[in-house]
Amino acid sequence: MLEEPKKLKYCAGGKWLESKTDKFMDCYNPSTGEIIAKAPCCTAEEVESAIAAGKAAFPEWADTPASKRVQVLYRMKALVDEHLEELTHILCKEEGKNWRESMGDVLKVNEVVEFACGVPHLMKGVSGMNVSVGYDTVMYNEPLGVFAGIAPWNFPAMIPHGWMTPLCIATGNTIVLKAASFVPQTSMRLLELWQEAGLPDGVINLVTTSRNEAEILLRHSDVKGVTFVGSTKVGGHIYATAAANGKRVQALTEAKNHALVLRDCKLERTARGIINAYCGCAGARCMACPVIVVEDCIADEVIALLKKFVGELSLGPAYDPETGMGPIMNEGHLKFVTDWIQKGVDEGAETGRGRKRSGGSRV
């Protein structure tokens, strides 16, 4: 049965609001190809209202002692544990990675929430008595204000709510998250849990936007810093633009990790490690390992093992616990990856002429 796509909201100042935009982006269930939700391209005014909500919430939140602030994080950790299955299901349904991969994506939220519970210790400063005769200096670490977090689609829980949010808010800042438009629902559910954990209104705000409106986050004078994960091209632009506007920036971008495979390696275990490293999360990890550099003397043996193990990987819907590899996140990205395979062929690779297995690769 087809579900009616859900019209998603944005959150500013603790309130979930309907966007006034007439532009919406399709969110898929990549396992079936159905559109399951529509994410608003929030208007410039709505993005500005989210920043304003973060600014309004900042003074009181920053003034709350760190040991009180982290009480919210302790409660959040318990809520994530309690809602683990539900969050895992939302995540694998919208992103397409398999059940265990999705569960790990959610648990990685708690990994940083737990670390950030140590902020009362981690952010305390240092001091020197009698640094010159009769003079003492104390150094404090202070929060800055509103941060912007611009999240990618490949880790819908871990990146916005693990990498970007816990340390940001535990240290007393507030944040406007721009959730990935293709996979915003996990992020939205996690924000509801933050609210349930007792987070004051406006400490975390969440929008989905097109690129034009996201640009406001890079230039607005009330945004003090930008944390970004995505492509190298966009990351370079964000670094340059936000820095030119006086903000601190961390922009994590593309990779092409290589593994060097030496002749004395444990062959089978190594081959299994390689399969996991390039096929895990359907290859959509910035720490995936899509290239191996192999000593020629063992290359044929390694390839034979890889072919064998790759054949054991079953394709299927993300939320089926038996699935070895889920689908690609959406149709556009499937085309992008498929085009790259064709490009490899165009660059001189002969094509295999093997027969086609059901649910698997041509070998």
Binding site: Y239, Q250, K256, L262, T270, I274, I303, G354, S361
Partner: protein, 165 residues
Amino acid sequence: MPKLVVDGRDPVVPGYENGFYLAPSIFDHVTEEMSVGREEIFGPVLCVKRVKNFEEGLAIMNASRFANGSVIYTQNGHYAREFSKRTHAGMVGINVGIPVPLGIFGFTGHKQSFFGDLHVMGMDGVRFFTEQKNVTATWFPEDAEACGEVDTWDGTISSMPVDSK
């Protein structure tokens, strides 16, 4: 000769014909001229580059403009150590295919995999979200004579000879 030895395009997943599926692919004998072996694809596509030895392999890896992670599979401690020291990547795996450090460390990509100074998570994460403020204080005794004179540096220098005025 480069070859697509496993072609994962257009797989059939019975019952889920409209899903966005792609099975794993493997290119063998990928050369440094081929962009498929250099650029991010973000899908289940493996490129195999064949080399004579450790040195040739390391040189190929360090020629990449990206430097998030790098991995070595070996039982040889000498090569593993040499690799950790000389690889350009910011996160290194020794027999670990996905060497993502836990959140108590941080995600430390290098080269064009990262723009900025302070990485996410770990102590860098704490510093990224905080700014330092230094407060310097001196307190005067009740006896005006004992307050001393105001020097041009007002006490905020440590190396001036005491008798130099």
